[in-house]
Symmetry: C2
Subunit: 358 residues, 2 copies
Amino acid sequence: ARSYNITLLPGDGIGPEVVAVAKDVLSTAGSKEGVELRFQEMLMGGAALDAVGVPLPDETLAAARASDAILLGAIGGYKWDNNEKHLKPETGLLNIRAGLGVFANLRPATVLPQLVDASTLKKEVAEGVDIMVVRELTGGIYFGKPRGFGTNDKGEETGFNTEIYTVSEIDRIARVAFEVARKRGGKLCSVDKANVLEASMLWRKRVTAIASEFPDVELSHMYVDNAAMQLIRNPKQFDTIVTNNIFGDILSDEASMITGSIGMLPSASVGESGPGLFEPIHGSAPDIAGQDKANPLATILSAAMLLRYALGVENAAKRIEAAVTETLDNGFRTGDIYSPGMTLVGCKRMGEEVLKAL
Amino acid sequence: ARSYNITLLPGDGIGPEVVAVAKDVLSTAGSKEGVELRFQEMLMGGAALDAVGVPLPDETLAAARASDAILLGAIGGYKWDNNEKHLKPETGLLNIRAGLGVFANLRPATVLPQLVDASTLKKEVAEGVDIMVVRELTGGIYFGKPRGFGTNDKGEETGFNTEIYTVSEIDRIARVAFEVARKRGGKLCSVDKANVLEASMLWRKRVTAIASEFPDVELSHMYVDNAAMQLIRNPKQFDTIVTNNIFGDILSDEASMITGSIGMLPSASVGESGPGLFEPIHGSAPDIAGQDKANPLATILSAAMLLRYALGVENAAKRIEAAVTETLDNGFRTGDIYSPGMTLVGCKRMGEEVLKAL
Ligand SMILES: CC(C)[C@H](C(=O)O)[C@@H](O)C(=O)O
Ligand SMILES: CC(C)[C@H](C(=O)O)[C@@H](O)C(=O)O
């Protein structure tokens, strides 16, 4: 039997709860396809800060690198919000992304027919939305140098960051996005601010150049402010979106909220080679942590992406996705996606129902 | 009688049509309050590029500076989209903002009861939304240096920009925002990315410090990705938002689309002293230019803001706003806000109806 090592990073808030549930689902789905999964749990985020004083211990990064894939819960919480930068849980997340070289972040925003009412958008606008945001994850203003605090020529304190992209950084994320678009609806919309920013002008130029390698994909360009509007006006116009790190942060969250059910949305972060990082797009939700209220489906669906993209066990991924659909069809709902007439369940019970359906 | 000089910058696309209509309304409303307005029309944007080869001629900036207020239509169009940066219409807009020192951009996003159905959001989510976005307009990544194209240490081409804020830039926009919030619902939400960016950390620190001058305003902070979601999830939670130039560009457009009627939304850009710049938030809509289809109400409402903020003729501003409400109540609609049962009119006719109501 094939066997793989999975690093689990439960993290903070609801992270441990959803990862525990997803682990069982992952393990069961794998074994049904003859794949044995070995898990090791490592510290990260606020949990790591509390235990060992850094948000990403060296052993965690080393273990993650040595494994076949990583499943992350969520990180962060009020408790650490005022920490200095190198002691923020978020810094741990940025460091593991950089450390693993996972430059491509795939964030689907899909409106499931069972959950169309959860969207704040009108039914006719929301139904059928199926967008994939491909976000550049290890470059741009998140990592650009110089950055920090300084003094300007008038002796005034400043805070500054650098938005910077190289040709190869743009080319590789563009290729991933074109590949993704090719397997989906064949339409790629590149989002930038090329009417103002030089970094975006280079972005647009390179994405346009790479397009010649993908004649079967239809490329369009959109300014980020317009994209923020169009996602609300008519989200169905989008198939695949590719954009930089900060615009992707904003637009992928916006797209996910359009679905109305961010407790349902997974994500995958992958690099050229080496293990990928899989995580729900929701945060650590400290206000409901430890109360068995969290929706584990986003993490469960992240586990499906892990099986598909990291381990290539497509059938196991499909099993999980089918089990999630069945569980929703059976009427089970956590609080965040509850609507009258459905059966309200907690995090653990939702996991059990998915296991049953598996 | 008091008399003022107004610079008109019709610009491109539908700009000339909506400015022509708004000019008549402005002039009539002023004269009803005993205020005489003198107008001078100047070149800007693509129109200026075509006529004299630069997007902001020196005479235009000089005339604008010497006047009491500026009313701008819209700039830009496909024709100039591939121009080099210094020959883009957008560069003219950025230069006039910088040249006038209008660092505070006020963008209301209000859902009018008559137009609640125009929103793609569910009625119960959209109705009653009344947000004011205060966007920093002359700093941040739009203007930060260094910027441009370069070569990194591997000999690769790069494109880069600098996001930078000084303490005084943050303090002054924060004060404007607190003043605005104080006159509205008393709640200010400052939006940043302080979990990642140093420029945002300084932003949060200074906004928090300035809050002590406004004990009657309730301050909260939100990360920009979360703000992009919350605007869709529950826009009514927001009263006044303050944010940097690029986040304000994205979020104010998102907020405006939530209202469903961006053809209705005005904006004001003001500085410490000197004339303010008033413009609709919509673009130049080249596809419907010259067809008498544009909605002039956003420009008309921008004229009302001009009377209020630049000239201090509150009563004339109120007259315009009441006339717009009456015109909508009378059932007149341009194509962008049309719904069955209403009277479809063009740009000119809409202006005539507002004049009648005046
Ligand atoms: C927590 C934060 C650093 C992170 C980001 O900005 O990338 C998060 O918002 C995300 O999108 O994964
Ligand atoms: C046209 C463009 C330069 C401008 C901006 O980004 O500021 C526009 O989007 C706006 O918001 O006024």
